[in-house]
């Protein structure tokens, strides 16, 4: 009853604060849309490469869709890179290729590097092919000569054997005739088998993807983590600031001058703001799935459940942290300390590859568990059994923080 009074109040307050509502519901969509377009076309990055006196055959193989070639008349790489804002400069002296990278953009450097390497490999293959072709021609002519020779020989043996068979048959020696017949068969057989020359296998690849498809982008792999992050961030901020307001305006103390239980206040907050977190999650998830046609492998309900738990953790964390802030400004100061580091452990950087002490930090971050579960559900179709441990840990976070909050309110009332 009292909890519901608090819930109703939270709902009324939120619904009247149109800007906060817009922030909570529209900001994630806006950022998602931006990210979608930013990360969608990440393959069209083009590096510019200046060349000077390089063999046309080399230039031809380097010239790919990721590298544009510019021809210049100077061998001074440093100067030309600066002057024409190039990413690299390639010069040649006899057989020696020298490349200078601007390296102001490491991505472009690696693009050129990759093109150059694959180009040179291609070139080597080409020369190898021409060499083999020549060898093959020589071999083939030899083989033809050989074939002629063997054919003549066989012909001789066959006629020889045939006359021998005829003689044997004339003599009435059946056994010898049969033996000779066999030899004859063998002799003709060898001629036919030698015409079957071995052909080289040419390999083609066919790719299968277990998760996603060949169209999978950067955006798709980050999306689940960001779904979790948005809910976490906004709920943390809004719940933290609103409890802080209650404290600074004195309404919290006024609430505690009624027979309300401290736990009823916290529960009211959990239900009230949890409701808005659900709406935010549904809106964001449905938006990304329908507008960006993101392929959701697992169950959408598991996505909602995980996000709801994350929101509740963020809510209790926000309320808890707000007790250490004396103003909204101080509350904002906790964002770079508490919220931003979590994004690094949400799967953007693989946690398995981190130093062990960093991995330990990851395991105290709620978003690590939430984002892992979301990624597993969205991209691998994980079920409740697969992410159950993560969800339980989130529940654990929530329970511990809720207890701390309830006890922490003793500061304002002793019972």
């Amino acid at each position: 009853m009292r909890t519901m009074a608090i819930v109703r109040r939270v709902f009324k307050q939120m619904l009247r604060d149109k800007r906060t509502l817009a922030l909570m519901f529209l900001a994630p969509l806006l950022i998602m849309t931006l990210m979608y377009f930013l990360f969608q076309n990440n393959t069209t990055q083009v590096a510019s490469l200046g060349v000077h006196h390089v063999d046309q055959s080399v230039v031809n193989v380097i010239d790919t869709k990721n590298v544009t070639i510019h021809h210049y008349d100077s061998s001074q790489a440093r100067k030309m890179i600066k002057q024409h804002d190039l990413d690299g400069y390639l010069t040649q002296k006899n057989g020696q290729l020298t490349i200078t990278y601007s390296n102001s953009n490491p991505t472009n450097t690696s693009l050129i590097k990759a093109s150059l390497q694959s180009g040179l490999v291609k070139l080597k293959m080409k020369t190898l092919v021409t060499v083999t072709k020549k060898q093959r021609a020589a071999l083939e002519s030899q083989q033809a000569a050989l074939k002629k020779l063997t054919a003549a020989q066989t012909q001789a043996t066959v006629t020889k054997l045939k006359t021998a068979i005829a003689q044997a048959q004339a003599r009435g020696d059946q056994a010898t005739a049969e033996k000779l017949q066999k030899q004859l068969k063998q002799a003709t057989a060898t001629t036919s088998s030698s015409t079957q020359s071995a052909k080289a296998t040419s390999y083609t690849t066919k790719s299968h993807y277990i998760y996603g498809s060949s169209d999978s982008t950067f955006f798709e792999s980050f999306l689940p983590a960001f779904l979790g992050f948005f809910v976490f961030f906004f709920v943390f901020l809004i719940s933290g600031v609103s409890l802080l307001n209650e404290r600074t305006t004195g309404t919290l103390s006024r609430l505690l001058a009624t027979p309300i239980r401290r736990s009823e206040i916290i529960m009211g907050y959990l239900i009230g703001y949890g409701g808005f977190a659900i709406i935010q999650t549904v809106l964001t998830v449905v938006f990304t799935i329908t507008v960006f046609k993101i392929h959701l492998v697992g169950s959408i309900w598991l996505v909602f459940l995980t996000n709801l738990l994350l929101a509740l953790v963020a809510l209790t964390l926000g309320i808890f942290i707000s007790t250490f802030a004396n103003s909204e400004f101080q509350m904002i100061q906790f964002i770079p300390l508490i919220v931003v580091p979590q994004i690094f452990f949400a799967g953007l950087v693989p946690v398995d590859g981190m130093a062990s002490w960093l991995q330990a930090i990851a395991h105290i971050m709620p978003l690590y568990y939430g984002a892992n579960a979301l990624t597993a559900v969205v991209t691998k179709g994980a079920g409740l059994g697969d992410i159950g441990v993560n969800l339980l840990i989130l529940v654990g976070f929530m329970v511990v923080l809720t207890m701390l909050n309830i006890v922490g309110m003793k500061r304002y009332r002793k019972v």
Partner: protein, 247 residues
Amino acid sequence: MATDYVIAKQVSKHFGHQQVLNQIDLTLPAGMIYGLIGPSGAGKTTLIKSILGMEAVDSGTVKVMDTVMPNRAVMAQVGYMAQSDALYETLTARENLTLFGQLMSVPKIKLAQMIDYAAGLVDLTSQLDKRVSGYSGGMKRRLSLAIALIQDPQLLILDEPTVGIDPELRQQIWTELNKLKDTGKSMLVTTHVMDEAERCDYLMLIRHGIALAEGTPAALKQQYAVDTIEQVFLKAGRMQDANDGNR
């Protein structure tokens, strides 16, 4: 009724090294307006919060309605008006009253009636559906008082109830407080406005956490041989300073 609504005995409290309350005794019987007067920072609000059970006392006991405080359930029988207007500004006055009515367990059927009664008492009936953010300081104060009255409590604890209220309305509020008193309710009122102190049935002067003097306004004036409570206060204060100097 001969019951005492509040009995505080030897209440002491300190924050850090500062002694905020020093062995205060206070007894508030039914049907009385009890005034706590003293300068800002004298410990009035701390005493009130100790009586409400929101502040833990170092020593001494507080009983409200025969129950040792702090006690959560007893709070439903106490109407409290805080020194600062703790109102939800984005809500209307009616919504604020409804919220606190629900928290005070006012039955649903009675709630609308109680809102009308409390709003009428502080002359806010016509403004009930306006958001509090559009209220003037005096209106907010009146709404705070209405909230304290929402569950029709026997005991009202009012921390500076008339700050920022114009004289005419102040007159009205005091008339209402006296009417409430006549129905057997008791009020513990803090103020540092001396002419308000004259309207109380019984006064306690607090300064530096010490109860300097107490009694009916008339008795106090007689005791200090002065004409106004203000002079009583000044005289008592000077005597306290002189004593401190002697120590």
